[in-house]
Structure formats: structure tokens, C-alpha cells
């Protein structure tokens, strides 16, 4: 089922790449239409799964990644529609496609523990998903900031200079994505703790669980980024690097830790 949105995301990527190269009205429309179609198909699949299981499908890695990809696509589409900036699509879509490959080709466990139910669990997982989607956006925006910054600084005005929005706009977008992500990361973590206490499973709160440990590290990185931008003037390029670093940590938590370790499975 997840192959359909994957194919549409791939088609959207082609559209964004075409738009990045040619910048015509037709390619812009094509790219946005393909992405909207992909997101719609993805919404349909997630909706079906929700009806099937009776709750938001985030109980195993396969469905959680699918959910994350969907949130990322929606968040990006929202940014695109509100700012009319399409240059970032060519950077976001590879991430979307790479992650969507997992739910599209990996068999899910299907089974989920009876413990993992209830509103607190729902808040915990969906807040974290939303936070991670925001961080993914911030990471891509950060990378584009650095690319444009380098062109202007070294006076080699080229591809990115002609296509990307201004440094100021990119910095603001990065900051906003980090604030939104940080708020939801905090809510997700607090809800996780509350859920563990409520469920009386002390192992859920262990710092030896790599997933919890890495999540806390990413919280610290993003907290530092927000603090540094306001107090010590680490806006712009340094903030962009921190966004990229933060998301590298988040991604570490998402894929390798989930598949290579037995952490955070109940």
C-alpha cells in the first residue's frame, strides 16, 4: 500500500528537480500537484489503517515512519503554499523518499502490545512525530542556508543565489521550525514520562534505553540552539549547522536504533 505514495513522491521529486533547473510555471505546477497527490494518497492509507486498528497507526516502526513521512510532506506543503517558495522541495523530497522506502518495502510486525494504548501514549507518539517532522524541515532549511551563505560569502553567486529565498527568510524559517519542534519534543517527552508512570513500567524510564538517551541529547541540542540564537548571537550559519546536527541525532534514533537495537520495545 505504501508503494503508491512512494511512487508519487518520486514523481514529485522529478517535478521539483525540473523546477529547480528550469523555473517555469508549468514545472512549478507539476511539482506541487504531484506532491499534493502523493500526500492525499498517503492520507488515505493512514486513514484506512486508523480505521482498521481503531487508533492512529504508530505502534510499530513501519507505521511510525510512514506517519512521520506524511507529517513531513504536509508540513512542507503548508510551508510551500504559505510562502510560495518551491526551491526547498528538491532537498526535502529525497529525505521523504528515503524514509518512505522503509514502510513501502519492509513488512510490519502487525502485532502491538496491549500496554501501548491510551491518550497519553497517543500524545507521546504523535507529539514526537510532529517534532521530528519540524526538525527535518529545519535541517533541510539549514542546509540550504549554508549553501546560500557560502555563495554570498565567497562571492561566487550561482545556482542557489538565483533560486533560494534570502538568508534572513531562511534563518527565520529555521528558527520557527526549531521552536515548533522543540515545543512538541518537550510535550512528547513529558507525555512519555507520564505514560510510563501511569503504566507502572519502570524500564520505560531508564536512561540506559538508547532511544530515551538519544531523545534527551537531541532535546539538549535544540534547547542550546534556541538559547544560543537569542543570547549569544548564534543565529544564521551556526544555527543552521546546529539544526543539521540535531536532525542527524534524531535520524539516528529513528532508523538505526529502532532496527539494530531492542530498545524502547514493550
Amino acid at each position: 500500500m505504501n508503494i503508491v505514495p512512494l511512487a508519487l513522491y518520486a514523481a514529485a521529486f522529478v517535478g521539483y528537480a525540473l523546477h529547480f533547473a528550469r523555473r517555469t510555471v508549468v514545472s512549478a505546477r507539476l511539482a506541487t500537484t504531484m506532491l499534493a497527490a502523493a500526500t492525499l494518497a498517503h492520507t488515505f492509507i493512514i486513514g484506512m489503517q486508523t480505521m482498521q486498528v481503531g487508533q492512529v497507526p504508530v505502534f510499530d516502526m513501519k507505521s511510525a515512519i510512514s506517519m512521520f513521512v506524511w507529517l513531513l510532506a504536509v508540513a512542507y506543503l503548508y510551508t510551500e503554499v504559505t510562502t510560495d517558495e518551491r526551491a526547498m522541495g528538491v532537498f526535502i523530497l529525497p529525505l521523504v523518499i528515503a524514509l518512505q522506502l522503509i514502510p513501502a518495502f519492509k513488512a510490519g510486525s502487525g502485532a502491538h502490545s496491549a500496554v501501548l494504548r491510551g491518550p497519553l501514549f497517543g500524545i507521546h507518539v504523535s507529539s514526537l512525530m510532529f517534532a521530528y517532522a519540524s526538525f527535518a524541515l529545519a535541517c533541510v532549511i539549514g542546509i540550504t542556508y549554508v549553501l546560500l551563505f557560502k555563495e554570498i560569502k565567497t562571492k561566487h553567486l550561482g545556482v542557489f543565489y538565483a533560486r533560494l529565498p534570502s538568508l534572513q527568510v531562511l534563518d527565520q524559517m529555521n528558527q520557527r521550525a526549531i521552536i515548533v519542534g522543540w515545543v512538541f519534543l518537550t510535550i512528547g517527552l513529558v507525555a512519555g514520562v507520564a505514560f510510563a508512570i501511569q503504566a507502572h513500567v519502570p524500564s520505560m524510564l531508564s536512561l540506559e534505553d538508547p532511544k530515551i538517551f538519544v531523545a534527551l541529547i537531541s532535546w539538549l541540542v535544540y534547547s542550546f540552539e534556541l538559547f544560543a540564537a537569542r543570547r549569544i548571537g548564534w543565529a544564521g550559519r551556526r544555527a543552521a549547522y546546529l539544526s543539521a546536527l540535531g536532525f542527524a541525532i534524531v535520524l539516528l534514533n529513528f532508523v538505526p536504533i529502532s532496527y539494530l537495537t531492542n530498545s524502547h520495545k514493550f
Binding site: K155, L157, A162, S166, Q168, A229, I232, R237, R238
Partner: protein, 451 residues
């Protein structure tokens, strides 16, 4: 009907003459009305005037090109009170499709002084709307101008002919926009009260910056320059660091022999700014800013050579886009030419329809006589029915031939078809048919260019 263009532009005339034949100054509408009344060269009153600081062009639909040409030149001379002899050597004229090609190239920005400049399309639109207001735009000119708007739009969206700043001031503003986004709310500090700094500051001001501060060794000099810029303020040389701390953009243009802004000085200015970017434009020769200052995080330093290099690069990029733009002009010209050709067979179509209609009318008249025995009500009803049926019949019979004729792309075939129809249906007595005028609308291509 021919399309004629008579004009003067930056390619043929010096600015002194262009100033004297500026239609904007004397009123485009007055010119249009005066010309329409003259009916130059058998004109049906279809005229448009395109007047910018770089060109004055008259577009006219007329029957006699040669006569219209000389009448237009003498009109320009009389209207602007300039001797004909002073104008004639600078005037160019082209007719039919070459006139259309010229307007398409103008609208695309291909004929502009700075290739690809964006204002020209707006000025062409203005020329058309003036002609419409003065009721001098008919079917030919309306179609011509709409086609040229399409060219302008396509060139703008499908090529990079208009992209990239092509003057040092614009390059500086474009860079500032890439760093800060919107310039409204930004503040600019100019070091030095000379002409260069003043001009760049004025340009920044016109882009909507919040505040311009002039810093000069002589406060009176700074105050004078600030006054000429309008809304700018003057600051003393000793207060330079405070001014720099508050600035987003710094333009340095002093005559100092050694750098005024050393790396250490810029560093100390940057410290309390908490990462707020500073864009320094050093247009002084010798340079006012130490090159090493550009290494500081969040400082973007450009000197006059950097800006000129960017301008040169943009001009080269535009030049490489010219070919793509010319191709668009050719494509749209082909479309316009086939529309013109379809107009060439219109007289035959009209004659054919008139012939059918007159047959129908005469048969209806004969029917009236036959129906005269019926009671009045029944007679009226029967006549109305027959009228309706025969009308529909004629329309349906003529639909396909009309479409086929209008769709003929090749002028020779069109002429041949028109002649055949004229002969077969005996339209000779009736008015004109497709004539050799169709030929004039075959697109002319430069020799050696493949179709």
C-alpha cells in the same frame, strides 16, 4: 491592409533628438486623435503610439505603405515642431510581419538598451491601452498587441533574459535583498559624502530602506549630502562606530588613502550585534575596508570589482538567453502570421455568405407570393418557420467551407482555393476574394535560417 511601423529609437537617434520627439510630453492621446483624423495612407484609423525614453514608435494599419510613411514622418515633424530634415535620417520603418517582429522583440526586451529590462512590457501595455482609450485600436492592432504581450510573458517566464542585476547599484541592492530579504526597516550608513556614495544611498532609499545616515569628516558636508538625499541624517566622524553598530548596510566611499574599517574595528562593531548580519559595500578606490574584514562571521564584504564582476556575469548570462528569446519571438510570429493569413481569405468567405444569403432571401420573397392565399396568422407562422429552417440550412452548409478556408496555412493554397470558390459559385460580381495580399504575411526569415 498593411501593418506599418515608423519610429526612432536609441539605436538610430541621439538622446537630444529622442527628447524632442517624446510623445509622453505632448500627450499620446492628442497624437492618436490627430493621426486618426488624418487617415494616413488610407488608414482606417488603427494607430498606436509607443513612447518611452528610448523610443518613439507609431504602429499603423494602412493600405498604402509608401504614402503612409511620408505622412507619418511629416506628422512627427509637425507635432513636435522639429524640422523634417532633422528627423528623417534617424527614422526607421518596417511593414507587415517585420513590423510585428519588431514589436515582439521590443516587448521581449530584446531591443532595449539594457537587454531584458522589465519596464518595457509595461510601457507597451500602456501604448495599447492609450490606443484603446482613444478608440484607435482595431482588430489588427488589438491582435498584434495581445500577441506581443504573450511574447513578453513567455520570454520572462521561459528564459532568464531579465534575470540578474546589470548595474553596480542594482547588483548591490540585489545582494542586500538576498541577505536581508525585504529592505524596508533596514538602515544604511554611508561613509563619505561624495557623489558615488550619495548615488548608491539614493538608490537604497528608493528601495524603501528605513534610514540613511551620512558620516563624513566634515559634518557640514554630511548634512548637505543628507539634505539632497531627502530624509537622511548626518552624523559626525567620531560617532562612526555607534552608527555602524546600528546599521545593516554600510556603503564606504571616502577618498582615504588607507583603510578606515580595519578587521579589528569591524570585529568590535560586530560583537554587540549578536550575529546580526552586516553587508559592507566598498565602492572606494583605494579601498576603505580591509579585505580580511570579510572573513568575520556574518560580515558580507563586496568591493567595486566584485560588484562589477557580478554585473559582467549577468550581462553574459542574458546574452546567452537571447537565442531562446528570439525563438519564442519566431514561434509567436508564426501564430500571428497564420491569423493574418486567415484574414486574407475573409473577403471570399464574406462574398460566399452574401451570395448564399441573397439566394435564400430571393427564395423567401417568392415564397411570400405563394403563401398569400393563406390567412394572415398562418402565413406569418409558415414564413417564420421557413425563414428559420433555411437560415440554419445555410449556416450548416457554410460551416465546414468557412473553417477550411480560414485554416489554410499556405498563402498560395489559400489564394488558389479562394479563386476556385469564386469561380465555382460565381462570386466574381460580388466583392473581393482572397487576393495576393495573403502573400505579404508569409514570415520572412533571415537568409540561412532554417524553418
Amino acid at each position: 491592409m498593411h501593418l506599418l511601423l515608423v519610429g526612432i529609437s536609441h539605436r538610430t537617434a541621439p538622446v537630444e533628438l529622442r527628447e524632442r520627439v517624446d510623445f509622453q510630453a505632448r500627450g499620446v492621446e492628442l497624437a492618436l486623435r490627430t493621426l486618426a483624423a488624418r487617415k494616413a495612407g488610407g488608414s482606417a484609423g488603427e494607430i498606436a503610439v509607443l513612447s518611452t525614453c528610448n523610443r518613439a514608435e507609431l504602429y499603423l494599419a494602412c493600405d498604402d505603405v509608401e504614402q503612409a510613411k511620408s505622412e507619418l514622418v511629416s506628422f512627427v515633424s509637425a507635432f513636435h515642431e522639429v524640422d523634417v530634415k532633422a528627423i528623417e535620417p534617424h527614422v526607421y520603418d518596417v511593414a507587415d510581419l517585420e513590423a510585428a517582429r519588431h514589436l515582439f522583440r521590443v516587448a521581449a526586451g530584446l531591443d532595449s538598451l539594457v537587454v531584458g529590462e522589465p519596464q518595457i512590457l509595461g510601457q507597451v501595455k500602456e501604448a495599447h491601452s492609450s490606443a484603446r482609450q482613444a478608440e484607435t485600436a482595431g482588430p489588427l492592432l488589438n491582435r498584434l498587441f495581445h500577441a506581443c504581450f504573450a511574447v513578453g510573458k513567455r520570454v520572462r517566464t521561459e528564459t532568464n533574459l531579465g534575470s540578474g542585476a546589470v548595474s553596480v547599484s542594482y547588483a548591490a541592492v540585489a545582494l542586500a535583498r538576498k541577505i536581508f530579504g525585504d529592505l524596508a526597516g533596514r538602515s544604511v550608513v554611508v561613509l563619505g559624502a561624495g557623489e558615488m556614495g550619495k548615488l548608491t544611498a539614493q538608490h537604497m532609499k528608493s528601495q524603501g530602506v528605513k534610514q540613511v545616515t551620512i558620516v563624513s569628516r566634515t559634518i557640514a558636508h554630511a548634512a548637505r549630502t543628507a539634505e539632497t538625499i531627502g530624509g537622511a541624517i548626518a552624523a559626525r566622524w567620531e560617532d562612526m562606530d555607534a552608527a555602524l553598530a546600528a546599521a545593516d548596510i554600510v556603503i564606504t566611499a571616502t577618498g582615504a588613502a588607507t583603510p578606515i574599517l580595519t578587521k579589528a574595528r569591524v570585529e568590535s562593531v560586530m560583537r554587540p550585534r549578536r550575529g546580526r548580519p552586516l553587508f559592507i559595500i566598498d565602492i572606494a578606490v583605494p579601498r576603505d575596508v580591509e579585505a580580511a574584514a570579510g572573513e568575520i562571521e556574518q560580515v558580507f564584504l563586496y568591493n567595486i570589482d566584485d560588484l562589477q564582476a557580478s554585473v559582467r556575469e549577468n550581462l553574459a548570462k542574458r546574452a546567452s538567453e537571447v537565442e531562446r528569446a528570439e525563438k519564442i519571438v519566431d514561434e509567436e510570429l508564426d501564430k500571428f502570421a497564420s491569423w493574418l493569413r486567415s484574414r486574407g481569405v475573409i473577403p471570399t468567405v464574406v462574398a460566399l455568405r452574401q451570395s448564399f444569403e441573397s439566394i435564400r432571401r430571393s427564395e423567401l420573397d417568392r415564397l411570400d407570393f405563394k403563401l398569400s392565399s393563406l390567412p394572415p396568422d398562418a402565413r406569418e407562422e409558415a414564413r417564420a418557420r421557413v425563414d428559420e429552417i433555411t437560415h440554419l440550412l445555410v449556416e450548416k452548409l457554410l460551416l465546414t467551407p468557412t473553417e477550411q478556408l480560414k485554416g489554410l496555412a499556405d498563402p498560395e493554397t489559400a489564394t488558389m482555393y479562394a479563386e476556385a470558390i469564386t469561380r465555382v459559385f460565381g462570386l466574381d460580381d460580388a466583392e473581393p476574394r482572397a487576393d495576393s495580399r495573403v502573400e505579404q504575411f508569409r514570415p520572412k526569415r533571415p537568409s540561412g535560417q532554417k524553418r
